[in-house]
């Protein structure tokens, strides 16, 4: 990255949101914009080259109605799956995208024994960067029938809930995150904090001069 590009990224990082067709995808764009990033919805079919053309500094993939181990859903999500593998910028995957991330990188997703709809309590195991300031537990809103059963190799768990073992995870050596709950909805008390942390991660990453 050139120096002037880095400066622009510090002031206003470009963080598109992949629209996985969930109801809340728009809220992610709204929050990122309010937090000073440049954001818009991009379709499931978006390629890494198209993202590079708009000069993205980080990526968020939203939730959706799919079930990743179901054949038709998986086909619908195939492009996103490639994207998650190819991408080298900071990445935040939410709900179905979090489950897809697990599958794409060698983990496993299956039906939840006790699915969560609405209010849950997220217990933080490791604040790391993305949950910094969230405290030891917080109220969040979730809506999922499936869940990550096994994380990919090289991932660590950041949070869990009573019914769901992996509410948040990250790659140990790259800024890649997955969360099962929805940080973008107003009932998730620490949602704004999480997105603010992610925007900071994106800014730091784009100035690190890789």
């Amino acid at each position: 990255m050139r120096n002037d590009e880095r400066l622009v990224a510090v002031l206003k990082p470009v963080v598109p949101v992949v629209n996985v067709k969930g109801q809340y995808n728009h809220l992610i764009v709204r929050l990122l914009t309010e937090l000073g990033a440049e954001s818009s919805l991009v379709p499931l079919s978006v390629s890494i080259r198209e993202l590079e053309e708009i000069g993205f500094n980080g990526l968020v993939a939203g939730g959706g109605p799919q079930s990743v181990y179901e054949e038709n859903s998986r086909r619908e999500l195939r492009n996103l799956e490639h994207l998650l593998k190819e991408n080298s910028e900071p990445l935040l995957c939410i709900c179905v995208s979090h489950q897809l991330l697990a599958e794409a990188l060698g983990g496993r997703t299956g039906p939840a024994k006790e699915p969560e709809y609405g209010r849950i309590t997220v217990h933080v195991d490791e604040e790391d960067e993305v949950l910094r300031g969230a405290g030891s537990s917080f109220t969040a809103w979730a809506s999922h029938n499936d869940e990550v059963i096994r994380m990919p190799d090289g991932f660590q768990r950041l949070a869990h809930s009573q019914n769901c073992k992996i509410e948040a995870m990250r790659s140990s050596n790259r800024p890649i995150y997955g969360v099962q709950f929805h940080p973008e909805v107003s009932h998730t008390t620490m949602g704004r904090t999480i997105f603010r942390n992610f925007v900071e991660i994106v800014k730091r990453n784009s100035t690190s001069g890789r």
Binding site: L27, G36, P115, Y117, G118, W141, S143, S186
Partner: protein, 403 residues
């Protein structure tokens, strides 16, 4: 340091939208159907500022309005600073006939939408309006596109060509805004507080709160209950509170006993003190971003316990979570507050929620005494009601409205 934007600038928005509407309309006339809610009123005010008398402002009385609503709204809007001239279009019979015996939630919404636009398109033709201004906001079209439910005012986004079907082009000045932003715009425009802070009312009105088949007496019971709930909960009811009417008919479902056990375990009350019924009516819900036209369970704790137990809202929230998580078909859990005559044909559910943008909702904590007083008044005024419930369900897994 992160520089956070000062959220949203209503002044700048108003300015740019007035310009844009004026430019798009040119010398053409536009029609708008006002509901008296903040969305349509804000659009009307924007358009009126843009084109003045080029705007034909109507209020279609569908019959699914609250008691006295059309006249109240007209009076409010005709006041300064808005001074909007509103024409009331009487269309109650047309809507009741169109809905007929339709029972399914989605079918009812579709019939309503079709009748609404037919009616509007006839007036537009008469008045020579080639544009329709409407107050679609972000959640409306997100939900419709996602297949959760049919909002009555969403056409273009789901591929219905309004020009071909109804003869007008649709302009949606606030389609990218969320409710809280619309309210900010409304306040900026000087719209009276009664409207700018008014709780939302669904497009199809009371149709979606008259669960299942519409009957004249059922609708009347709903209107009376609505009036009582709005009056009683006005100061404590959360961002939105309303009544819905259901049929007092119990459906047959194999999960009934299982639910009964789950309730008894979750609340730690003996099984014989708990009664769970599965209603015949169904209600719209959303689980994992997928629409579920789900079952409704009512939980009835024996009177002794209900009084002792009072109103442990946290326990009841947990109960709702457990039941809807363990039983995929269920999207509503209702808690019995009071009982009337067991043989009466209808039930009434009180729903009160806390929400910022209507994308998610939590149930409101209402003092038990307020709730029982409200229930008592409904039973006193509506002799055809058997049970009064409080709706325990958050969004998700329920939607805000029943249908």
């Amino acid at each position: 340091m992160t520089v956070e934007q000062s959220e949203f600038d209503p002044g700048a928005f108003v300015k740019s939208q007035i310009d844009e509407i004026a430019q798009r309309l040119g010398n053409e006339q536009a029609i708008i159907a006002i509901s008296g809610g903040v969305d349509s009123t804000t659009c009307a005010a924007l358009a009126y500022k843009a084109v003045g008398k080029g705007l034909v402002c109507t209020f279609i009385d569908t019959g699914f309005m609250r008691l006295g609503e059309p006249r109240k709204v007209r009076a409010l809007l005709s006041r300064r600073p808005l001074s909007l001239p509103v024409r009331i279009i009487e269309a109650q019979e047309r809507f009741i006939e169109a809905v007929g015996e339709t029972e399914d939630a989605e079918e009812k919404r579709k019939v309503f939408r079709e009748t609404f636009y037919r009616t509007l398109s006839e007036i537009a033709k008469k008045e020579e309006c080639r544009f329709l201004i409407q107050g679609t906001i972000a959640p409306d079209w997100i939900e419709t596109k996602g297949g959760i439910k049919t909002q009555h005012n969403v056409l273009e986004q789901i591929g219905i060509n309004a020009r071909e079907s109804y003869g007008f082009t649709v302009i949606e000045p606030i389609a990218d805004l969320y409710k809280d932003q619309v309210r900010a715009v409304a306040r900026h425009l000087g719209i009276p507080r009664e409207i700018s802070e008014r709780q939302p009312f669904p497009g199809p009105g009371l149709l979606v709160r008259c669960v299942g088949r519409v009957e004249p007496r059922k609708l009347k019971t709903l209107k009376q209950s609505m009036q009582i709930v709005e009056k009683r909960l006005a100061t404590i009811g959360g961002q939105q509170f309303f009544a819905a009417v259901l049929d007092n008919r119990i459906g047959d479902h194999p999960a009934r006993e299982l639910l009964q056990r789950q309730v008894s375990e979750s609340l730690r009350i003996q099984g014989r003190e708990v009664k769970v019924n599965i209603l015949q009516n169904k209600a719209t819900g959303v689980k994992g971003d997928v629409r579920v036209y789900g079952r409704i369970a009512s939980v009835n704790i024996s009177k002794n316990h209900r009084e002792v137990y009072g109103w442990l809202i946290e326990k009841l929230r947990e109960l709702q979570s457990k039941l809807t998580s363990a039983n995929p078909e269920f999207t509503r859990i209702l808690y019995t507050v009071k009982e009337g005559k067991e043989s009466a044909p209808y039930d009434v559910a009180i729903r009160a929620i806390e929400t910022r943008d209507f994308m998610t909702a939590d149930i409101a904590t209402i003092p038990w005494a307020t709730l029982t007083a409200t229930a008592k008044e409904i039973l006193r005024k509506c002799s055809n009601v058997a049970h009064i419930y409080y709706d325990l369900t958050s969004k998700p897994p329920a939607t805000i409205e029943f249908e």
